[in-house]
Symmetry: C2
Subunit: 927 residues, 2 copies
């Protein structure tokens, strides 16, 4: 008889696994398979098994966690713990040691373990898949898996053999029967109700015994030559042993060994295999998780119509995939995705820690020529290109775009979700509240504004002592500073922590921010196109008598809070930046910050959900992050760094992140490179510069376009002269992009009336200026398929080595930085600083802000500061009227003209057409 050496086989397996674990760690920067065992109560046998598993896990070098819960733990608490490990990316296997105390429902617990971490294989979905012929369970229960291993170790061909399983437990008998059936044995399961067990076992070529009765199977029950696997482990009295007891199996070993062809001993047979299989299951689980193999992106089919219907019609007939599915497709864990309704989700920042070691994908920025009223389709290209890369060329791609302000949605603007067959869906959700980030910005901005005026009021109506005593109130007779007050003290150079120790002069300095009202730069904001709030007088009620002042409202996206959201890199950094925000100067000329006002923590709390990117999808079901939407003139006009960082990790090295920069390349792209990339440290791989033939014709001197009147023939018929002159604008932007060391691909959005000669002319002039390629695109009418050529060119361009560099070092003086941008990017002869700007340079330099990058606030309608100068203006000098500081966001913004910071509503705003189809809960008339 062959004695099957379970111990030896198991030890071989564990050795192999140890090697695999080492290889994993080497490949995945120290990552280890992680096993969590939860033990409830302190049954001795359970403790013994757990200790054995722990020893084995630690021996092979796994990450091991043991959670011991008291035996009276509430089921809910156990479930919470399981959920915690389900969500923990460092844990690949979860085992709840059975049996559990009677008050806990074992079935509920077994089902609660994520099927993907159910290394015990006890969960119904895994059992069901084991039972079904064409499915594969995530895990097979350890003991029967070990049994099969041992049977195979004898070299027997299981197919067609008669196999008998004694016992039908969920843990051994039932799954063993299924495993044998999957191996094509003819299986009979015997159990306590079987009447003629002996007759049946005698037919078995393979006999698996798991019945829990000591030495139950005798020699004459076994067919000569059969393979006998003894799963039993029973303690019997044995006077011959010192302990008085011995461990035996369910098989009377000596008798059966005399008949069988092969047999497992007890102990040393199945026992060691169970633990080896537990380790193997966990290692397999870790391999799968670490490989980050993703399910293919399910592409939503487009039902292309001609003529192309309105954006909202196209959006509303497409059924978006569930956020859960999209999350899985892009490699997010369930715990990292928080749903906001059915079509939006917020993504946890913890992804960055989990994927820290993974290489980034390619990073592509979409920008445009100088905008015209004809539109160029930058957003549409961003979405269309990402649909092409992801849905048509198989590259996992995120489109990362800004959240649009809700104000203009009801005014005159088109949607910002792209258009035609290249859109973010559902576009109404995208264009309305989304997940409330802009509302949070509004709330935070206005809390700061209210606190600022209230502080001026309270300082103005109270004596030093009263003010100090109110700011540092006694609680149960004791005054203590809050953390934020201690920070202010430190800035003031007061090295005391006990309020009672301050001198009267120190109390006054601490309590009085002493704000110079004329220096206040902090406006209130609303996300509404409300022109009447451009300039207002506040504080006119009797209760604020004597404190009224002029101020204004901006649109919410113009708030520095929004700029911070876009430029921050994590929660701690955001809090830091909020605290640094300067809202005014004191009468002594020192900056007064949000931290001085006591608001750093409160602003952070108000923005703690907003900091997480919003996951949505394109019309073709590819992933989109919508996150932050700072104004593109007084701020930097780019979506968030955080979304880009997360997306770049998620797509991995073969994937792409396509993001859009606001306005023309002279504004959005310049700021993308010099501000956003500077703060993020990310390396852009390619620029996509969007142009249309029509817009180029306008730059070439084509006639003005008047709403409601038919387009001039110049735009609808071939006119190579206008195109050629207009292409100078395109060439200027191409050359600018190249200055940053990044390859440029031109995307030409074609209309049906554009001629081949026109397109070819644009193409050749683009190449002449140094573009890598210039490609015609039809994604508006055809979705991603219409941008597949563009996508190919972008892939090629982004494979070139990146030579990215900033335009200026931060050490340059404020004036020199402004001049550098004006000359190198706009082509100006020089700049001229008006008095106010000169003053500010002195102030900001004194206040220590001279090192900040520059965010030019200028018109988008010209490469110059003058909206009237089309094409490529020459021989102009850029006037700098004033300079302001967004110290929290981290830039200075010179004002080159009057920037409207809150739009108005036209005579007939588009809200006249907006309604809700109540029966179908569908928005009508939105673009």
């Amino acid at each position: 008889v062959k004695v099957i050496d379970g111990k030896g086989i198991a030890s071989g397996i564990r050795e192999r696994l140890q090697g695999e674990i080492r290889a994993l760690a080497a490949h995945y920067k120290g990552a280890k398979p992680g096993l969590a065992i939860i033990q409830v109560g302190d049954r001795e046998d359970s403790s013994l098994y757990v200790r054995m598993k722990q020893r084995a896990a630690e021996e092979v070098g796994m990450h091991f966690v043991l959670e011991k819960l008291p035996k009276d733990v509430r089921q809910m608490q156990l479930l919470n713990l399981i959920q915690q490990y389900n969500d923990d990316p460092k844990i690949h296997g979860i085992l709840v040691q059975l049996p559990l105390p009677a008050h806990i429902n074992e079935r509920v617990i077994t089902e609660a373990v994520d099927a993907r971490k159910d290394v015990d294989g006890f969960n119904s979905a895994n059992v069901g898949k084991l039972a079904k012929r064409d499915e594969t369970p995530s895990f097979v229960p350890c003991t029967p898996k070990g049994v099969l291993h041992l049977i195979r170790s004898t070299g027997v061909d299981i197919a067609g053999k008669s196999a008998v399983v004694l016992g039908r437990s969920n843990i051994v008998g039932m799954p063993a029967a299924h495993l044998l059936m999957r191996e094509n044995a003819t299986v009979t399961v015997c159990h306590s109700k079987t009447t003629n067990v002996k007759e049946i076992t005698r037919t078995a070529d393979i006999l698996v015994v798991a019945i829990g009765q000591a030495e139950y199977v005798r020699g004459d029950w076994v067919k000569p030559g059969a393979i006998v696997i003894d799963v039993g482990m029973n303690t019997i009295k044995d006077e011959s042993k010192k302990s008085g007891s011995a461990v035996v199996g369910d098989v009377k070993y000596d008798e059966v060994a005399a008949v069988a062809g092969a047999i497992t001993p007890v102990p040393g047979g199945v026992g060691p295999m169970t633990i080896a299989m537990l380790i193997e299951n966990t290692v397999e689980s870790a391999k799968l998780a670490l490989s980050a193999r993703l399910p293919p992106i399910e592409i939503l089919p487009l039902d292309l119509k001609t003529p192309v219907p309105s954006d909202i019609e196209i959006s509303s007939v497409q059924v978006p995939k569930s956020m859960k599915k999209l999350g899985e497709e892009v490699g997010l864990l369930d715990a990292e995705v928080d749903l906001y309704g059915k079509t939006k989700a917020k993504v946890s920042l913890e992804v960055l820690q989990r994927l820290g070691g993974r290489p980034d994908g390619k990073y592509v920025v979409v920008t445009g020529i100088t905008p015209t009223p004809l539109g160029e389709g930058k957003s549409t290209t961003t979405i269309g290109l990402s649909q092409a890369l992801c849905a048509h060329l198989g590259r996992l791609t995120f489109a990362n775009v800004r959240q649009p302000s809700q104000g203009p949605t009801f005014g005159i603007k088109g949607g910002a979700a792209g258009g035609g067959y290249s859109q973010v869906i559902p576009m109404d959700e995208f264009n309305l509240h989304l997940t409330g980030d802009i509302h949070a910005v509004t709330a935070a901005n206005n809390l700061l504004a209210a606190a600022l005026d209230a502080r001026i009021y309270h300082e103005g109506t109270q004596k030093d002592d009263a003010l100090f005593n109110r700011l540092v109130p006694a609680k149960k007779g004791v005054r203590t500073f809050s953390d934020i007050q201690l920070r202010r003290l430190k800035r003031l150079g007061i090295d005391k922590t006990n309020p009672d120790d301050l001198t009267p002069e120190e109390k006054s300095r601490f309590a009085r921010l002493d704000i110079d009202k004329s220096t206040i730069t902090w406006n209130r904001v609303l996300d509404t196109n409300d022109r009447f709030l451009r300039k207002v007088t506040i504080g006119q009620a009797a209760t604020e008598k004597g404190f009224e002042r002029e101020t204004g409202f901006d649109i919410a996206v113009a708030s520095e809070i929004m700029a911070v959201l876009a430029l921050t890199t994590d929660m701690a950094d955001m809090r830091e930046r909020f605290g640094r925000m300067v809202v005014a100067s004191s009468k002594r000329g020192e900056p007064v910050t949000a931290d001085d006002l006591g608001l750093t923590g409160a602003l952070t709390v108000l923005m703690r959900d907003a900091i997480r990117p919003n996951l949505m999808q394109t019309l073709e079901g590819t992933p989109v992050f919508v996150h932050a939407g700072p104004f593109a003139n007084i701020a930097h006009g780019n979506s968030s760094i955080i979304a880009d960082r997360i997306a770049l990790k998620l797509v991995g090295k073969d994937g792409f992140v396509v993001t859009e920069a606001g306005f023309g390349a002279d504004i959005g792209m310049e700021k993308f490179f010099n501000i956003k990339c500077r703060y993020s440290g990310l390396q852009p791989n390619a620029v996509v510069l969007v142009a249309t033939c029509r817009a180029l014709k306008m730059h070439g001197g084509g006639p003005e376009v008047v709403a409601g009147q038919p387009l001039s023939d110049d735009y609808t018929k071939e006119n190579l002269v206008l195109v050629k002159i207009g292409c100078a604008n395109l060439q200027h932007h191409i050359r600018n992009a190249i200055k940053f060391g990044v390859p440029v691909v031109v995307g030409i959005n074609v209309f049906s009336t554009d001629t081949d000669a026109e397109i070819e002319l644009i193409r050749s002039m683009a190449l002449e200026a140094g573009a890598d390629a210039a490609i015609r695109c039809e994604h508006w009418a055809r979705g991603g398929a219409g941008a597949a050529d563009l996508a190919q060119a972008v892939i090629a361009a982004s494979e070139k080595p990146s030579k990215f560099q900033f335009l200026y070092p931060l050490e340059l003086s404020i004036e020199d930085k402004i001049r550098k941008i004006a000359q190198d990017i706009y082509g100006a002869d020089d700049i001229v600083l008006e008095d106010k700007a000169k003053e500010k340079i002195v102030t900001y330099t004194k206040q220590g802000f001279a090192h900040l990058p520059i965010c030019m606030a200028k018109t988008q309608y010209s490469i110059s500061h003058d909206p009237e100068l089309k094409g490529v203006p020459k021989g102009f000098v850029v006037p700098v009227r004033d300079i302001r500081a967004s110290v929290g966001a981290g830039f200075l913004y010179p004002l080159l003209g009057a920037m409207p910071t809150i739009p108005g509503l036209p005579t007939r705003p588009c809200f006249f057409d907006v309604d809700l189809d109540i029966e179908h809960n569908r928005v009508l008339g939105l673009f």
Copy 2:
């Protein structure tokens, strides 16, 4: 041999099911079991089976839907359709007819069917549960279930018998083997790889053949007397038949019938049973769904600490249950619950349709004595009582509360989530953005404000023609009115639809709202405590020159939009109300509405998510709806009608909905009855009136309380005199409640320093005034357990027949309605109308608003209009300074004093203490 009459047995079953279906319809107001079959492509055999199933379903009187999809349908579309039926409460069984075309993954489809509607039983979770010994699948596959039925029909005792199953398919063989094993047979499964089939079948007492080969099993394969079930259905050539073919089973019938004890014929054996079992599975599924049997509410254990920690500490250590679980516990379908992060969800209004026929639960309103700075604990009692009813007395109970304004969160107020061990959790989510409803109110309110001023501006700067042409622009040369413009025309009595047909005078009337600026009642709002916005001048920028005007901001919850949200009954009603909102009068004295401004649809779209109630939970895991939070003085101060309606249906006739009304009973309760219940049509069953010993002492003349200074001995030591005098206030409110015909239970929130004699005095005085009961409560310190006695009293009171009546009929004049409230509720001698109020009565009566209910705007600090009059004032006359109209919300609000409509920030707002623990993403210092 016994021939098993499958056809007859099946027909008996179908007859029984028909009866059961009739009984269901009778019991559940016409509800029927619903079966949806999805067939992809048009295979002939599939069409035949589907037709047979359809016929059977229709015969027994089921709701049947057949979806035929083209054979090239995309897998995603098929999945979307399955999801649609998963979500459809009228469908109880879903069957996707197999086989599917090759491009569709059958496994994915099978798994996509909700396990609770998987009447085919093919889904892994159901198969797994079938395979496991101690589990019960939702459904057993139809054919094997039928097979078992037929075996049982022979009267055999299956336990201990030898059963052989030929074939191991997922559809028949495998599940049949499991079923037989569950019946304690000893089962052997044979299949194509089995070498000695014949030998094995000869051992079978029960032989199930499902191998798909015509007449495979011969006479000598069968043990004499065995039961043979033939699942096969094969078409063979048969020259003797006219069709040239015959249908035979997998068993050679004549031969086997000669040996077997019982046998099924083909056809007429297993076939008819499959369909009967499909019907049975669907009926069982419907029974379960219709019974609305809910899983028990899992109670979250409290870890009570003394002294009671801060609210945020208590809230943040409790792990909330998942919204999915909570939704299931309260009987919501998955599709009706939209998650907003992990701890909040929005609930679909469709619940109301689904549960329309169900009786309402008991409806309890919590109100209080006249508020004092000492606090009475009304919110805490609302939550504590609901925890008691639901977690301790086993009555499904919703607490329905208002969403608090975020402004005061950062000012001085305590949280509104309750307190101590009776809270809504997580309280930081509750007190901050929640799901953005108030932000939506702000957006909608301010869009209307911006539109109003912009319209005045455009009317003021344009001639009639230009104005008309811009309002009705030509698109491709054609002018058309939008729907909302047609409504305005109709109101103007202009019966034309073609813009070109209007006379110049009609054009002018249409285009000019001609707003009288002095009559504008619509303010802008912010959800911030910003005192500087109480009175402002807007329109001071050069771009609005000549149009500046004085106005003010209110706190967002004071907006009429919020009042509409609270009082509306469904989406169509909300749109209606928004359109009706009056923002000013025209110079001709006609009301100017939101509909005139063109905003009805846009406002509805902005509020379409806000209209859905927000689901949260208490500290003990019982359900809470947080929805709408209208100001309690200039509006009616009650949470939403919609949330109450949904909750009353969800809890059903044995359950409770406990809601809270703002301020004292003279305000919140009066408005709850006269306004909210009038619009909802709901019948309140009990009033809970909350009092504390301390607050009563203050009403009895106790000394003022100064923040920061220790409480006077009067409040911390026994003082029966003060209590007794103060109880007059309590008695007054009790008597008021009784006037509405609703029983009153007094809840006395006790402090440790209250003496038994004091409590007993309060109790006896409450009973004297007519209260049903007066109960001491300790839910703040002990959670629901501390309010269990109160809950018992509430149950008893609410079982009394309700004699609810309004205080006044709507037909009374405005003046008389005001007088009625002042005299009957406040105890005033009379009212006196100041001139402005008299004017408004004339205007509103003329404008047709005299029939509206009255929402008194008065101080909460006295039963009278004068905050200084404590206790129960006598001999006063109520001055009515002015009257305003919230026509959309549906009430007139007389102003009895100066109401602050936007609070300010104190010198040291509580935001100084607020911060985020970044490592744990936990809010600190919030109350």
